[in-house]
């Protein structure tokens, strides 16, 4: 990791924490465990914890549990080598070694790559469902546990109704019960497991439903619109938009998301469900143009001519009223800035000295 990239992500965290650190005071001198801690969300939480400890003397002890700790240590030594961060190599389904004094647990273990969902749907479901069962069984043994936050998915309510401006936490929809929606269905069932663990074992668990994110640490190999557009532009290619570009999505920046998760973990009530994402929708066409604006020469934007299926909802946005009103959360990094920061970060990371 280039020093200037490390500096940039630290700056991103401190920018969010400025004037908001007090909201996270319950984390002071506590032990936080993030399961599935080496992905996009886990890495940003680690960055945020490092910023809280260095900048605000929070004294948090953080453990990151993942199957990919070796890669994490190679990729991000500035986090892996910190004395306040421990890496524990383990599959979420067999949590042998677990910090028994954990005050807070965030369960983020799942593979969000749609290619894996398509090729290995049973494995995808196993990590999510068996993994969540394993986490709940482990949580039963944690004497100091204050709260457990399960990271579900904004997809658990299925498609957004055409009449709604966003998907609310209490939306009644559901994904279709077939293999193409294995990730969403498994996440939905995992939410049910959380509810069951709360009912049976009194585990103080609440649920965050992430929508789409953007930022450093997101692999540009993943076939999502924001990563593909950035990847195309960084390689000097045309930006290829699948479809007519009128699909609407929204994107929350990595450091914003990390703060949201920590805020919901510490301030939320057991049983609560909170959407995490930006309510500000953008068409993929506008997103592509936003990405293109950050490159010189500006890449050409190409559209696939496939007509959008009129019967399919083109919009998936979170209704974040609950997060705003009850947690005081909002988008701290507007999309234009988020794209600019991400493009700069990747350019810095890829520049040879």
């Amino acid at each position: 990791m280039k020093p200037e990239c490390v500096e940039r992500t630290r700056h991103d965290c401190l920018r969010i924490l400025d004037g908001r650190d007090k909201e996270l005071d319950p984390l002071r001198q506590s032990e936080l465990v993030v399961i599935g801690g080496t992905g996009f969300v886990g890495t940003w939480i680690a960055e945020m914890v490092a910023a809280l400890n260095d900048g605000y003397q929070f004294g948090i002890k953080l453990s990151l549990i993942s199957r990919s700790t070796d890669q994490f240590a190679n990729r991000l030594p500035h986090l892996a080598n910190r004395p306040d961060i421990a890496l524990i190599k383990s599959d979420v389904r067999q949590l042998g070694q677990f910090p028994s004094n954990a005050d807070w647990v965030i369960h983020a273990a799942a593979n969000p790559d749609v290619r894996t969902h398509a090729s290995n749907p049973l494995d995808t479901a196993s990590v999510i469902v068996d993994g969540t069962m394993s986490v709940m069984r482990t949580a039963e043994r944690l004497g100091r546990l204050k709260k457990l936050l399960y990271l579900s998915s904004g997809l658990v309510c299925g498609t957004q109704p055409a009449t709604a401006s966003g998907v609310a936490e209490n939306a009644q929809g559901a994904p279709a019960p077939d293999a193409s929606f294995i990730y969403a269905n498994a996440k939905r069932f995992a939410e049910t497991l959380c509810s069951a663990a709360r009912a049976q074992s009194r585990i103080p668990v609440l649920v965050a439903r992430p929508f789409s994110f953007v930022g450093p640490y997101q692999s540009l190999d993943t076939p999502w619109a924001q990563t593909t557009f950035l990847s195309d532009a960084l390689r000097g290619h045309h930006i290829r938009v699948l479809g007519d570009g009128q699909v609407v999505r929204s994107y929350l920046y990595g450091s914003d998301a990390a703060y949201w998760f920590l805020r919901i973990l510490t301030a939320g009530q057991s049983g609560d469900v909170v959407n995490v994402g930006s309510p500000a929708g953008t068409t993929l066409q506008d997103l592509a143009q936003e990405v293109a604006r950050n490159f010189e020469p500006s890449p050409e934007i190409m559209f696939n001519t496939a007509p959008r299926n009129a019967g399919r909802s083109a919009q998936l946005l979170p209704d974040t009223t609950h997060a705003q009103n009850d947690y005081g959360l909002s988008v701290f990094t507007p999309l234009e800035e988020a794209i600019n920061l991400t493009a700069q970060w990747h350019r810095m990371q890829n520049t040879r000295k």
Binding site: V114, A118, S180, P223
Partner: protein, 342 residues
């Protein structure tokens, strides 16, 4: 009839047509036809061995023109038209075949698998996508699974990053309702474009292509004079004329595509594809059209009826790449006949 709909035309004359001449198309053939297709405004011109990039081999037939020469020649002669390749993972590897092909200026990669094996396309689709070229997934022998299962496989290709999925009637088995049902299922279940590749074993290639367009497909394949495996493909110049009459916009100039078809007939095609008896049987049996020549040859060698060979291959659900089974089947039929006579 006015449709106001655009149809992309992909022309595999120089790829599927290679099946019909034992993969013996020369660089001169490629240059001449590319010039003609480009002048006609064909959107994509597909070039290569019949089984695609890297497939030249003893088992599948050796190409007269190596991939790099075929692609270089095509690139030099295509100005407006995009240069496309057919890629079957296994025959084509990323490092040995795909990477050099992209460096030669390929615009569109069509990554193909048997209809139930889309998983094998993940790396090739992802790689092509990361290189900034157009990527389509192709599901071959699509009559062998139901529309619902076809959708499941197509969704895999979508998730890997394909910008469209073409389903191929590799054995010319479909009737228009079969095609319509599959296009509707795919269009309703995917966010990406749907295309159709017809074969003419039952004389339905143009009718099936029209059914596909009517049901929402936005890409159609067609070959000059139908030059392709077995009974041939949808005859491109006829397809353009029919689509024009139906009010679809293809961007292809009718006179110039008729000229291109004349060029193909004069230079490329030894024998204009026709629906021979074995082709009808191949279509009925649901066996890959490209098996026509080897089945006819081997059946003659073993003195068995090629129609029996086709129906037996169909019963065994044999697909392209399993050409060696033709020999086994012919041998068994010959033995059975001998025993029957004893």
């Amino acid at each position: 009839m006015a449709n106001n709909r655009e149809i992309l035309i992909s022309d595999p004359t120089l790829r599927d047509g290679n099946h019909a001449v034992g993969h013996q198309l020369s660089a001169e053939h490629i240059a001449a036809y590319c010039k003609a297709a480009d002048a006609a405004g064909v959107t994509i011109v597909e070039v290569g061995h019949g089984n695609g990039l890297g497939a030249s081999s003893l088992q599948l037939g050796e190409s007269k023109t190596p991939d790099h020469i075929a692609l270089t020649t095509a690139r030099q002669n295509l100005v407006k038209s995009k240069l496309g390749i057919h890629v079957i993972p296994g025959f084509a590897t990323i490092e040995r075949d795909l990477k050099p092909a992209l460096e030669l200026g390929v615009d569109v990669v069509r990554v193909a698998s048997h209809c139930s094996e889309a998983d094998i396309c993940e790396r090739h689709i992802s790689y092509s996508r990361s290189q900034g070229v157009g990527v389509w997934g192709c599901l071959m022998m699509s009559h062998m699974i139901s529309p619902a299962l076809l959708l499941e496989q197509a969704r895999k290709m979508e998730s890997y990053g394909a910008e469209g999925v073409v389903f191929m009637d590799s054995s010319g088995h479909f009737l228009p309702d079969d095609v319509r049902q599959r296009v509707e299922t795919l269009v309703n279940g995917l966010s990406i474009a749907v295309g159709f590749h017809a074969h003419n074993n039952l004389g339905m290639a143009i009718g099936n292509s029209v059914a596909a367009a009517d049901a929402g497909a936005t890409l159609l394949d067609g070959c000059a004079r139908g030059f392709g495996a077995g009974a041939g493909n949808a005859q491109l110049e006829v397809l353009i004329a029919v689509l024009e009459r139906l009010g679809y916009a293809t961007g292809v100039d009718l006179y110039k595509i008729l000229d291109a078809a004349d060029v193909a007939e004069e230079l490329l095609i030894k024998e204009i594809p026709s629906i021979k008896s074995v082709s009808v049987v191949s279509g009925m049996a649901g066996v890959f059209s490209g098996f026509m020549k080897p089945v006819s040859r081997i059946a003659k060698e073993f003195n068995v009826d090629p129609r029996d060979v086709f129906f037996e291959l169909g019963r065994r659900k044999i697909v392209a790449g399993q050409e060696d089974i033709i020999l086994e089947v012919a041998k068994e039929l010959a033995q059975r006949a001998r025993k029957g006579n004893e």
